[in-house]
Symmetry: C3
Subunit: 203 residues, 3 copies
């Protein structure tokens, strides 16, 4: 139950981050909704395609679609207000990222993949929407050059696989993975952690 | 039969729109053919991947591939002439868009998806090629910021799903969806309809 | 056995080409590894998705993932040295391209596709990683406008299909396709072959 609520919180946060970017690119109302939708459900659609779950769950049910589009509409009409909630959105986004990474890994394991595939597909679930968002608005994906985002996602999905290998229940793995990923992400934001670039090391 | 012809008309129009963009980017003959091909069959390939139809129909048969490549070659060698047919291409493109949206929705329903998934996958079939085209030539997708394109596609696929829910035959849905989508698209072009951007509403 | 070794050589070369581009874009250590990984395994993942092989082989086994990430790390720390090996990397890359095109076509035929689909999916396997690389770093794909890359790949996969139609063993097709594709690619680099652009023909 908590997980279902968190999942929708994640969709809201992802849709908000996507539609805010779209607004700042001055897209029209449809473009804003489309980018919000892609950001929110893109990762899950890619996960399902990689696992052979067709049609992807996020397309086959109303819940995610409706939540993402409504969120994008709110952002479109009230973007100045929403922008003031930037910090709150980042917190929700971190929780959503952790949850998508963990649940992505759990769904992959359930589909019978190897542990490695579950780690990678879980992380892909968490980062896929943001990468799609950036590619569509013609920017280099943020997580490639500025954001410590994929590492926490990979840690979250790895925790789920480790818990499963230790014989713990899926729920324990989901909670542990989500919390750890979100905390690391928030610490990285708060302390402004960055990974070293090639500049610092050689040249 | 009429649908088969219209389908090829759509492929020709999509390939022409893609290869014209590629020519204007000064790509070589292979790049022009590749962009023409991606624009023409990209939407159908994405549709089939989302539905688990592998290998995608458009890759598995000669018809679409050959039509798209031949069209692109004609555009490559005669692009100045083809460019003068811009208005005609836009009309064919609108028909193709309507048909791809409608047939995409019908194929999704046949594959057993929910009505919502059929609406979304139908629209994706119609817009997928154009989005791929723009991403590959490193432009922000036109339909995100200038073109009223995805809304008519969504209307076309929704008509097919509605007709199916009303118990009408697939053919009725296909014709109604294609005509409605194409007419709305052409009206939008003719009257220069645009959706509001965030600029107009707040700031 | 030789094919297994060549396959890893191809992964190393593709990962090196991807991570060198990422370094030149000043990405951080994670971005460099991610682009290296996408370049190395992206084509194979797309191939498997198009064939309905889920989860994709490259995600489900350690071999490719580990090789690609280790290569990217070496490039990250020693990129000035690696850059001096540019010519050697191009040779390995040509061999990898030929092998991926040929093995992609063979895997497609084994999955029961038509000969045409096998040609197209084989070529997609070879070029997919490089296209992903360029899209992610926000450049127009090199092979669209400067590089004679996809034509040799298409020739390689077509040779495999032709050998199969002639009743020859898969091994013969793989060797012939790989060698022919690599040789044409290297000749194109060495002689600086380019395809004509629209500029030369009309305007």
């Amino acid at each position: 139950m908590l997980l279902k609520v968190l999942e929708l919180v994640g969709v809201v946060a992802f849709a908000a981050s996507g539609s805010l970017v779209a607004v700042s690119k001055r897209l029209d109302i449809f473009g804003v909704c489309l980018i919000g939708l892609f950001t929110a459900i893109g990762g899950g659609v890619i996960r399902d395609v990689l696992l052979g779950i067709t049609p992807p769950t996020a397309l086959n049910t109303w819940k995610f679609f409706t939540t993402a589009v409504l969120t994008s509409l709110v952002v479109f009409f009230l973007h100045a207000t929403v922008r003031r909630l930037r910090r709150e959105i980042l917190v929700f986004d971190a929780v959503g990222m952790g949850l998508f990474a963990s649940s992505g890994a759990a769904i992959a394991l359930e589909a019978g993949t190897s542990g490695q595939a579950a780690c990678l597909i879980g992380a892909t679930t968490a980062i896929g929407g943001g990468v799609l968002r950036d590619v569509l608005v013609n920017e280099m994906p943020l997580l490639l050059h500025r954001d410590l985002y994929a590492i926490p996602a990979l840690i979250g999905s790895t925790v789920v696989v480790a818990c499963s290998n230790l014989g713990l229940t899926t729920d324990v793995g989901l909670v542990a993975g989500t919390v750890l990923a979100a905390v690391i992400r928030l610490l990285a934001l708060w302390r402004d952690w960055n990974l070293p670039g090639p500049r610092l090391l050689q040249d």
